[in-house]
């Protein structure tokens, strides 16, 4: 294939990988905003928990694809449980008091980051490549690790959308997102919905943290903060609280970053792209592309 076409296709694949990672992380983050009206800051450190679980499990049991699969499941379960506990013991006592909940969220985020730092130490923790090699499609290289991330993420995203659109709990979540008081009047137990949503959201964060270990192989105590700032950009583009908005925002940001880095060069310019985009979108449509009034 001509080099221009190879570069274009490769850039598209890179953008797709970035987008699906952002998509999963931002969906969980925006889900909580939709239901609880809360920016769940511990989402970042919980994402790092997922990565560290992979590091420790593979350190103890050895590095193989099966162990990696097991560590992903453990990450999902552990992070989901952390989400449930957070709702029950930290957010519920301050139900209806947004300022207090935001303070608690910030506090929990700091505590979780500090715990990671204390337990795992400040240096990066690396694991050997779990899935290596790539498919060569006429000069376009698709690493298998990225291919698996894309497939897994798409499957999970479809599952999440089906859960929200087609199941009873999804119906409850949508109802609470629309109007929590009306939902309560209809007999929906708000605490159960928030507990489930927070568990689900944190499980998603844990999954993303664990799955990116196959791409980057490194867990660092600060990885949560980096991805959290991207999630904020994504949900501001897509609209706060909207899962379809998070999907759209992730695709826009992922592709924009990939194309700008390839065609304009990396560095500070590529970093700025996301912020410029958010600025323009907020200027034109302050509630984001798919956000409600």
């Amino acid at each position: 294939l001509p080099i221009e076409l190879v570069t274009l296709s490769q850039t598209f694949l890179n953008g797709l990988t970035l987008s699906v990672i952002y998509m999963l992380f931002a969906s969980g983050f925006t889900l909580i905003f939709g239901i609880m009206g809360l920016l769940n800051f511990p989402h970042g450190p919980i994402y790092a928990f997922g990565a560290y679980i992979v590091f420790y499990v593979m350190g103890w049991l050895g590095s193989s694809l099966n162990i990696y699969g097991l560590s992903i499941i453990l990450a999902i379960l552990f992070c989901g449980l952390v989400g449930v506990m957070m709702e029950r013991f930290f957010y519920r006592p301050f139900f209806g008091q947004l300022a207090q909940q935001v303070s608690v969220a910030l506090g929990l985020s700091l505590i979780f980051s500090g715990l990671t730092l204390v337990i795992a130490g400040p240096t990066e923790k690396g694991i050997p490549p779990i899935i290596s090699g790539s498919a060569n499609l006429g000069g376009i290289y698709l690493p298998y690790s990225r291919l698996i991330i894309i497939i897994l993420s798409v499957v999970i995203m479809i599952g999440l959308l089906l859960l929200i659109k087609r199941t009873k709990i999804g119906y409850f979540m949508r109802a609470v997102t629309e109007d929590s008081w009306a939902a309560q009047l209809e007999g929906i137990k708000l605490t159960r919905v928030t507990m489930f949503a927070l568990g689900l959201s944190c499980a998603l964060a844990g999954f993303v943290g664990a799955s990116v270990m196959t791409l980057f192989n490194l867990a660092t105590p600060y990885m949560g903060g980096e991805v959290l700032s991207i999630a904020l950009l994504v949900i501001m583009i897509g609209g706060l609280g909207s899962i379809p908005g998070a999907i759209l925002g992730s695709l826009i940001l992922g592709f924009m970053q990939s194309f700008s880095q390839t065609y304009l060069g990396g560095g500070a310019i590529a970093e700025l792209v996301g912020f410029i985009l958010v600025y323009i979108i907020l200027l034109v449509r302050p509630r984001g592309l798919m956000g409600h009034e």
Binding site: Q10, G126, P128, S134, P143, L215, N217, P221, Q261
Partner: protein, 429 residues
């Protein structure tokens, strides 16, 4: 209580109260006497021990400050640097301290974490200068932090032993006690490539998009050009980047023979190497600093094969130092070998200074003479590039990764860095 009102029983009560009163007074007296006795005893003990301390003079303690990014994006560089210093200071303290200007001192390293942030670095420097009153600060190792604390050190007359890439121009109080990162490693590397592997003509230079990164990228590019090689592009990336696939896609379109990573943090080296190989890059990948090699080896696995770097000069001296280092810290990091200059120059300067005053210390550093390091003797240079001869010129070696191990292929005699040219001056940005 009155007798008329309460009868004879009241008399008994009054007597009892009086007896109790007397007893209380006695108790009080005993308490006061015993307290005074205790205070006197304590005073006597203090006097006696004080006398003993005076009789057996203990060495004084000299606090030396250290500012390194123990946490944050450049944390990978801190452990080897501080370990090298600790190892040297421990040796001195075990021997009973060192003579500085006629008095014996134990060395106390006061470590602070700047998290590679200029604001935090300034706070660390303020603590070290005003609270700890250190005469010397070792570090920082990142350029933005160095730039942030330079005026503070200059104004308060504290010696700054930096190991960062920048600034290009030195101030009077500043000494770079590390190789001159911008060209010290890239020049021997590209000279070797031009001579030994002449088919590898077209190179990409990568570095961080910040002051230090741009300086080293410019150094790397100028070294390649000076060696008769071609620089297809200089790629700068934001600190903390994990996904290099878009940049590598851009690089692949230029069809280079090699990628040279300048001052690239260890985790970024791992990402670049692995992702470049996954995306089909088959040329040489080189790095000015390949550390910590354990992390790089773990993350890149087989992709590390063939990687080249410029490390500390190899030979029996390095092997001996490595053994001591590993015995103490359990792992080796090549940066440690290059950083031996930091404690060695500091200790040698402290050994010859007339006092701990700034002027005397500065004079001692400037006139320290050849400094023993791994692979020979280091000396001062850098006036052409940095206006003052405050740059340590350290012997280095070129390595290649074979069967997962770094194998030394050529030792290099250090030379004075050439005048600095920016990327813009070379029309590479």
């Amino acid at each position: 209580l009155h007798k008329d009102d309460w009868g004879s029983d009241c008399e008994e009560v009054i007597k009892k109260q009086e007896r109790r009163k007397k007893k209380m007074e006695k108790k009080k007296l005993i308490m006061v006497v015993s307290s005074l006795g205790l205070i006197f005893a304590l005073f006597a003990i203090c006097l006696l021990t004080g006398y003993k301390v005076q009789a057996q003079p203990q060495p004084k303690t000299l606090k030396i400050g250290e500012i390194l990014p123990y946490t944050g994006p450049a944390s990978g560089w801190s452990a080897p640097i501080t370990r090298v210093v600790k190892l040297a200071f421990e040796k001195v303290n075990k021997a009973g301290g060192m003579k500085i200007a006629g008095e014996t001192y134990l060395l106390d390293l006061v470590s602070t974490d700047d998290e590679a942030s200029p604001e935090k670095a300034r706070a660390c420097a303020e603590r070290l200068i005003f609270r700890e009153k250190v005469p010397i600060i070792l570090g920082p190792t990142t350029t933005p932090s160095t730039l942030a604390i330079m005026p503070l050190a200059e104004a308060n007359k504290v010696i700054l032993c930096i190991s960062s890439t920048g600034p290009v121009k030195f101030t009077e109080c500043m000494f770079r006690l590390s190789p001159e990162w911008a060209t010290a490693q890239s020049m021997p590397f590209f000279t070797y490539i031009a001579k030994q592997r002449p088919t590898l003509k077209k190179w990409i230079v990568m570095s961080r998009d910040d002051e230090g990164g741009r300086t080293t990228a410019a150094g790397g590019a100028s070294s390649a050009l000076a060696s008769g090689l071609q620089v297809a592009s200089v790629e700068l990336f934001a600190q903390g980047t994990k996904d290099f696939a878009p940049t590598i896609t851009r690089i692949m379109a230029l069809k280079p023979d090699g990628i040279w990573m300048e001052a690239t943090p260890p985790e970024a080296q791992a990402f670049i190497t692995r992702q470049a190989r996954e995306m089909g890059f088959q040329g040489i990948i080189g790095s000015s600093t390949m550390e910590p090699s354990t992390l790089l080896k773990t993350v890149t696995n087989k992709d590390i094969e063939g990687m080249m770097t410029c490390g500390s000069a190899f030979g029996s001296e390095l092997d001996g130092y490595k053994a001591d280092y590993v015995a103490k810290f359990g792992e080796w990091n090549d940066l440690a070998g290059k950083m031996v200059i930091l404690p060695n120059a500091t200790l040698k300067a402290l050994g010859i200074t007339k006092s701990l005053k700034y002027e005397d210390l500065k004079y001692a550093f400037e006139n320290v003479g050849p400094i023993p390091v791994i692979g020979g003797l280091a000396k001062w240079g850098g006036a052409v590039r940095s206006s003052l001869n405050h740059q340590a010129l350290v012997p280095l070696g070129i390595y290649e990764c074979k069967d997962g191990k770094l194998v030394g292929i050529d030792n290099v005699v250090p030379s004075d860095p050439p005048p600095f040219r920016t990327l813009e001056e070379m029309k590479l940005k």
